[in-house]
């Protein structure tokens, strides 16, 4: 006889009990953290008028600031230049490091593990620390911001590129070796053509990431539009700040769209957006 036996844990009541337990443990943790941090969600509603007041002071945005003050225009260009240069220089250095860090192109396993270690160490260093150090070493301004972006690009994309290089089709590489190519020739004629499309596509993505980061770095002395926003807020020129913030949103969206289109074109696949 085959009696229908339902395991205890599948009974509706037990299921409910489990859910209630998970939910209440979760709720208790959230409440405990909130108390610890003095975070009172109700505050958001009772103190909301401060936000409304601020918004009232910001409106209407003083759009004129974008062309009336010449240094605003320069700082926008500075931000773009920082992101562009950080991406290009960082991207090429990332590519160089990636070839040393990929197991099929690396000269030795020692170099390979060293590069991998360097990249993962670099990835955990917050940009805040880097910019603070570079501002001291190179002085305030976009140069320090650019170097920070450059280094963070190496950490982030070096690993991505190294993984891409390790995943190339081995057959064309072996074919080249079979006809007597040396390692450099194999890299040049077989591996590079295979990774270039994904490399360029990633560079466009990296530009997006760096543009956002460049704005944040400006606040800590990297110059550019982030610095202008910070200054406008500090000097209580709120309507100028709002105009700059709105412009930043437009700028980032614009470049995101462009980079999406170009990336999709390069990868010859459907749009990524």
């Amino acid at each position: 006889m085959n009696a229908l036996v339902i395991e205890k844990k599948f009974l509706p009541f037990e299921k409910l009990k489990k859910r209630v337990t998970v939910f209440s443990v979760f709720a208790i943790i959230v409440v405990a953290i909130s108390i610890q941090l003095d975070f009172n969600p109700v505050l958001f509603f009772t103190e909301g008028h401060h936000l409304v007041n601020l918004l009232g002071e910001m409106l209407p945005p003083n759009i004129e600031v974008l062309w009336k003050r010449s240094n605003v225009f320069t700082s926008i260009l500075e931000t773009l230049a920082m992101a562009f240069l950080g991406t290009v220089l960082g991207g090429f250095m990332a590519l160089a490091v990636a070839f040393l860090a990929a197991n099929n192109t690396s000269p030795s396993s020692l170099v390979r593990s060293f590069c991998r270690l360097l990249m993962s160490l670099e990835r955990v260093i917050p940009k805040l620390v880097m910019i603070l150090v570079f501002v001291i070493a190179l002085g305030l301004g976009p140069f320090a911001g650019m170097v920070t972006l450059c280094i963070s690009t190496i950490g982030m994309f070096g690993k991505l590129f190294a993984d891409a290089i390790e995943e190339v089709d081995v057959e064309p590489v072996e074919a080249l070796y079979a006809i007597g190519a040396n390692k450099l020739q194999a890299i040049k004629f077989s591996i590079i053509p295979q990774v270039v499309p994904s490399f360029i596509a990633n560079l466009f993505y990296s530009f997006d990431v760096n543009l956002r980061a460049a704005i944040g770095l400006g606040i800590f002395g990297g110059g550019g539009i982030g610095f202008e926003i910070h200054m406008a807020m500090k000097m209580l020129r709120y309507s100028d700040a709002l105009a700059l913030i709105l412009f930043t949103i437009v700028l980032i969206t614009f470049f995101e769209k462009i980079s999406d289109v170009l990336r999709a074109k390069i990868l010859k696949s459907e749009t990524l957006s």
Partner: protein, 264 residues
Amino acid sequence: MRFELTAYKKSFRKLFIATVFLFFFIASARLCRVDLGVFQQGIFEGLSFLSEMFPPDVAAFSEMIYPAFETILIALLATVFGALFSFGFALAGAANLSSPWLKTISRFAMAAERALPEIIIILLLVAALGLGPFPGVVALAVGCLGMLGRLYADAIEEVSPKTIEAVASVGATKMQIIQYVILPEVLPSIISNTLFRLEINIRLSVLLGAVGAGGIGYEIFYSFQLLEYERASTAIMVVLALVFLSERLSDYLRKKIATGGKLS
């Protein structure tokens, strides 16, 4: 003949791209005031500065534990609230659940938020609400919207329409459809995306700390301002450990979920 022409055109195009690229490159270098002399000098200054940061001030370590803890808590709380808040927007922004105009509004809000760096959100909140963890949590929670809202909404849109139709045809209300079809189906992807966001939020929480959310980011920034570099390097070590561990943990949990491990 035609072949030669294409080859000529191709090399012309390459030349054109290279020229434009070079122009931007040089213009950017001028704008960024790139100066190899400054860079060379900067290396020495940077190295001598780094030597000032050593050895890390071990005595300050105990003072760093609470701020580090605070940074983690800010990130955790912000992720929880941000995830809930993003899920609401995702329901409104999924084409298979909401009306077209609601979807457009919600998607627009997500896209606008995505283009707004978190650091600017916190500058606004600090101006309105003052310093402290409260604006930090709110800024990070709002910061989740652009990324999580879109990922959740995309996951909801991928739920098979047949399942939804089957449940709707037996008379389920919209709430019931969400509860019995959408939620179970998207939960794994929601959890894994949220864990990824938690990792990002921990990094951001360090950064936001420096502009007024408190925590370990504030300790780093403040120590730099007071020129207490040895203390700063202790704080930096703590941050490195924190970021590294959170990355490992989130990687591990996400892999577990992706391979169908039992979680949830």
